[in-house]
Amino acid sequence: MAVARERLSTAQATVQPGALLQTIGLTKSFGGLAAVQNIDFHISPGEIVGVIGPNGAGKSTFFNLITGLYKPTRGRILVAGQDVTGKRPDILLRAGVARTFQNIRLFQNMTVLDNVLVGYHTRLKSRLVGDILKLPPTRREEREAERRAFEVLRLFDDRLVPHSYELARNLAYADRRLLEIARALASSPKLLLLDEPTVGMNPAETENAIRIIAKIRSADLAIILIEHKLNVVMGMSNRVVVLDYGEKIAEGTPREVQTNEKVIEAYLGRKAAAQAAAMLDRRDALEEAGQ
């Protein structure tokens, strides 16, 4: 299977007509470290693709590349066939790519509602003069935005709506993660990138988050899901991509991936080894700092 993939990767490096997002040979190096190497990836509308891999495999870096936070060292990014390589994050959002962050990055001192309204920012047409004079179109648009924001908040059952006028920072941890999803959804994205949406959640909260993600799934929304909890990824994804040391080592249906030898090695063999090495490194660093 993996061998077949390797042979395919050159053939895949042509523009795929139906793909919502496609990356071709995407590479990012930090100094000598290639955090993401030569990744060919594609996703079509309505699909959920899981991205898994050990810590430091380059999953978040991959997200940072396709949302324009990092400029690729090599390779191309296409959204709906348009080359968006090296474009700014706000332009990528306008192109339909919205995301959440592994470490929650809400606007902590804005209300829950305002956070979602910021997500709606690009859909609002009012500009400076309209904002200052509060012209009727601006007022109408603001009312509409608020209505739409509540609509989004309601997707999260009773978790967010009761807190609409509270500051985001005062939400419970799991709800803050949900609010990040709400904020991203408010921009009506075509592609939603979720970076470990259930990390730090207890089983009940995880269950709830999964249910909500399943609920927002639709035919026009593609989702890329980074997740460490394998049962979550395997249960939700149409397709799973496995990264290790920045490279794509496997891709296929959840079943295919689970039985892939490279994946098993990366997860059990090398992960344990890497963790041990990291621990040794840390001890060395501590000792060095101590001296």
């Binding site: 910021v118 920012h121 609409s164």
Partner: protein, 406 residues
């Protein structure tokens, strides 16, 4: 599904609760402000005091402008007086004999000749404010990549540059190597600035008309400040202040949003510059020093960063201190000194210690009431969490994140 119907009723929106208080507060302030000149004894020191109150109004305009940059958008600007100068000088240069058009022209709306351009005052007000806004864009552009301390340093530099340019574009400049003509009047100040008249009301040395004019302009600025705060742009400013990276990922164009903050801040100071220039009929470089930038910042911090009523109050307090309280205190000190025959008290001059007093006030504020006298609702909640459990929970979740990732 029942939640759909109940949704907006969970709690009265915060803005509504605040609005009721705000409406009452502003209404009362407006009534008192309108009656203010009548409350003073017309035979007493009315002229002096009214003039100082107009200064206070101008302070408030400036504080509201700086509040857009510092409070709304979170960009620390230490050279704000530069924009004040640009507003005042563009008005002064156009509407005085420093501007020498090659022809004369006269019409009811606009006329020009040896005394510069004379036109509808509102036209001037808007035009010069827009000019200042343009300069806000120009000066804002090089700072786009800067944050925090670095931004503060560069804006500090701007303040000094504009001040020096204004001095050096005048006569007697020591560095005038190119022999350029007198453009700004330099340290001699630029005088003969146009003063408006509306029907029978001539604006000149009588300060009462200026008081009402300033009040009107201030009211307009306050309304604009509120509109901006509750708008698409206002939200973008706060989002950017909170987390630039996340804001960019939510589609906010950081460049435009920052430039608009500088530009709107400068726009407000343009109003202040025109009113001040016209009232005094002169502008002088000493009105636009670093100390002024700092005073305006003190008004914003004292009143409450990001809070419209707060910064107006802050401006009022600083004006009161500068123009009245310090002089009063001086008199009392001198009196006490004479009675008790203490030499030090007889010669003390507290007005010289103004900035020391501002400094002490800021230190006290930072210790006891960091959010300012009338905090913006946001800052209040930010700095005074409802109870400790919020903080405890935050630590808790920090811990779970870490252990979850391990």
């Amino acid at each position: 599904m029942a939640t759909i119907v109940r949704a907006p009723q969970y709690r009265l929106p915060a803005w509504f609760q605040n609005n009721r208080r705000l409406t009452i507060g502003w209404g009362t302030t407006l009534i008192i402000a309108l009656l203010f000149p009548l409350m003073l004894n017309p035979t007493g020191h009315i002229q002096d005091i009214t003039g100082d109150v107009v200064e206070g109004e101008i302070y408030a305009m400036l504080a509201l402008g700086l509040n857009v940059v510092v409070g709304f958008a979170g960009l620390l600007d230490l050279g704000y007086a530069a924009f004040f100068a640009i507003g005042a000088y563009s008005f002064g240069m156009l509407s005085s004999s420093h501007f020498l058009p090659s022809s004369s022209f006269s019409s009811p709306f606009i006329s020009w000749g040896p005394n510069g351009i004379h036109a509808n005052f509102w036209f001037f007000l808007l035009a010069c404010a827009m000019l200042a806004a343009l300069f806000g864009l120009i000066l804002g552009a090089p700072t786009l990549r800067l944050r925090g301390d670095y931004l503060a340093i560069v804006t500090l530099g701007f303040g000094e540059i504009v001040h020096k340019v204004v001095v050096n574009l005048g006569p007697g400049s020591t560095i005038n190597a190119f022999g350029w003509p007198d453009i700004t009047g330099g340290t001699n100040s630029l005088d003969g600035i146009f003063q408006p008249s509306f029907g029978p009301v001539q604006f000149s040395t009588d300060q009462v008309p200026w008081y009402y004019l300033g009040l009107g302009v201030l009211a307009v600025i306050i309304v604009i400040a509120y509109s901006l705060q509750n708008s698409r742009l206002g939200r973008a400013w706060v989002a950017m202040r909170e987390d630039e990276l996340a804001a960019a990922c939510m589609g906010i164009n950081l460049r435009n949003t920052k430039l608009l903050a500088f530009s709107m801040g400068a726009f407000f100071s343009g109003f202040a510059g025109v009113v001040q220039g016209s009232r005094l009929t002169l502008v002088d470089p000493s009105q636009f020093t670093f100390q002024i930038s700092i005073s305006i910042l003190v008004m914003v911090v004292l009143g409450g960063i990001g809070s419209v009523p707060g910064v107006v109050l802050g401006a009022g307090i600083i004006a009161l201190l500068q123009f009245y309280l310090l002089h009063q205190l001086n008199d009392w000190m001198h009196l006490a000194g004479t009675t008790a025959n203490i030499g030090l008290l007889q010669h003390i001059d507290l007005t010289q210690a103004q900035y020391l007093i501002f400094g002490i006030m800021l230190v006290i504020m930072m210790i006891f009431r960091r959010e300012g006298l009338i905090p913006s609702s946001q800052r209040r909640r930010e700095l005074r969490p409802a109870d400790e459990s919020v903080l405890a929970e935050e630590n808790q979740s920090l811990y779970t994140v870490r252990s979850g990732e391990a």
